[in-house]
């Protein structure tokens, strides 16, 4: 059966429905819990094996030793491709994904995030 205006009924009915659009910036969007967003580093767990650095496809991680069994992590969020391979690679679960996805910045320097092992004074006294 061929007829013109097949979609007419649905078109008219959808005029009275709520639009499917999410009004995103005004209405917050809930990402699923396990969304691969920004990476979180837990310094206490890190043992400095550098596996994450080696596996990272885009060289976005840099783990620096700042003292005895204390490590500092630098993440380049502009380089990161959010594959979270580092989370899989980490044997001690020192890395975690968060579902934070609104990472846009006006200055690329802000995309460089650093996780310190201890407060600044501690590091100074140790080194």
């Amino acid at each position: 059966m061929i007829k013109p205006g097949k979609m007419l009924r649905q078109v008219i009915s959808s005029a009275f429905k709520k639009p499917a659009t999410t009004r995103y910036p005004f209405v917050k969007f809930d990402m699923p819990e396990f969304f691969r967003g920004k990476i979180k580093f837990i310094p206490e767990k890190c043992i400095g094996c550098n596996l994450c650095m080696r596996d990272c496809p885009s060289n976005a991680i840099n783990i620096v030793k700042v003292g005895d069994k204390k490590f500092k992590a630098e993440f380049r969020l502009d380089k990161c491709i959010y594959c979270s391979q580092c989370v899989d690679s980490c044997l001690k679960k020192a890395l975690e994904t968060t579902n934070e996805f609104e990472l846009a910045q006006l200055d690329s320097k802000n995309l460089n995030i650093v996780f310190h092992g201890k407060p600044e004074e501690d590091i100074k006294t140790e080194t």
Binding site: F35, D55, C83
Partner: protein
Amino acid sequence: MDRVIIPIGPQHPALKEPESFRVTLEGEKIVDVSLRLGYNHRGIEKACESRTFMQNIYLIERVCGICSHSHSTCYIQAVEDLAGTEVPKRALYIRTLVGELERVHSHLLWLGVAGHEIGFDTLFMYSWRDREIVMDLLAKLTGNRVNYGINTIGGVRRDISKEESEEILKAVDILEERTKYYIEVATQEVTLINRLSNVGKLSRADVELLGAVGPVARASGVDMDTRRDDPYAAYSEVSFKVITADNEDVYGRTLVRVGELMESYSIIRQVLKNMPDGPITVRVPRKIPAGEAISRYEAPRGEDVHFVKSNGSDTPERVKLRAPTLANIKAVLKMLKNYNLADLPIIIAAIDPCFSCTDRTISIKKLDTGSTEIVDWKSLREYSIEWYKKRGIRF
């Protein structure tokens, strides 16, 4: 009548990616087409050679945004072939599941694009709205809407819980109902049929000669599907029909795609029903034994072929990918001839082209030799600021 040559691309509303068709017109009729590919060459094959097998998964996943699972699975199959890995059953089922969900999302995307190319924006909006269901589902299952990152060498990275599989079944029910509606629209709406049928004819003999793959080939009555002919993942354990049509035109390609959607739903249900328990990954050493392997995968757009050569270290010696669009491109040039200019967008769209899969090259930032001046991003920006300053506009 005078002949005019009009440039369709590199930038043109009909093309979603930069690619250049030079179309010779006689009035509104296309008499000749020449094609220049390569605008999307990003050098992925070369880049693969300097990364480890593990890192390459994520690189190859980014060859294309739509068939990211296809490319990464295809590559991983080749690597696992080389390493002689026995992948756990459950992992294979999860790969199949994600692959089919990806096919659903790709075909719904195509339906929308096709609608847009023939000026049927309502169809475009509706099918993309329904596609969101699959996208959200994939985000929940894998952690991302587009680059799923579910594959790893020797298995998959995430398991599927009971609740998640119930959610998938619910979503599939909704999608099935919607797809039935689209089939109704495709077989009844008169303007749609008028625009699609008898356009872009490609005979069966031409398909075989020009090596077209995927829905394009199946719409010309060629019964080929890698999922059945060269089964991978869990496809040997599910039953499905290979949808073909004898229309040999764009309308046939539409019917094949919406028919495949229905098959995908049935595959998803079977996979979820029969999914075995067990581990989802096995350990594979970082160094892959030397050798060569070729792997095939039926991507939504057609057959995907990856070739991997290893030299025994942890980086591949050569990775070669062939995307379905490159196989179909010769057929497009043949299809375009003797049709109206108005049919050009839909004929090109009918192969579901993905030019970023097709080309893959080098980011050249500075090369002093050669005839053209190649400018990097920073100096280009400085140049443009200078240009505006001269005209009294300041930033």
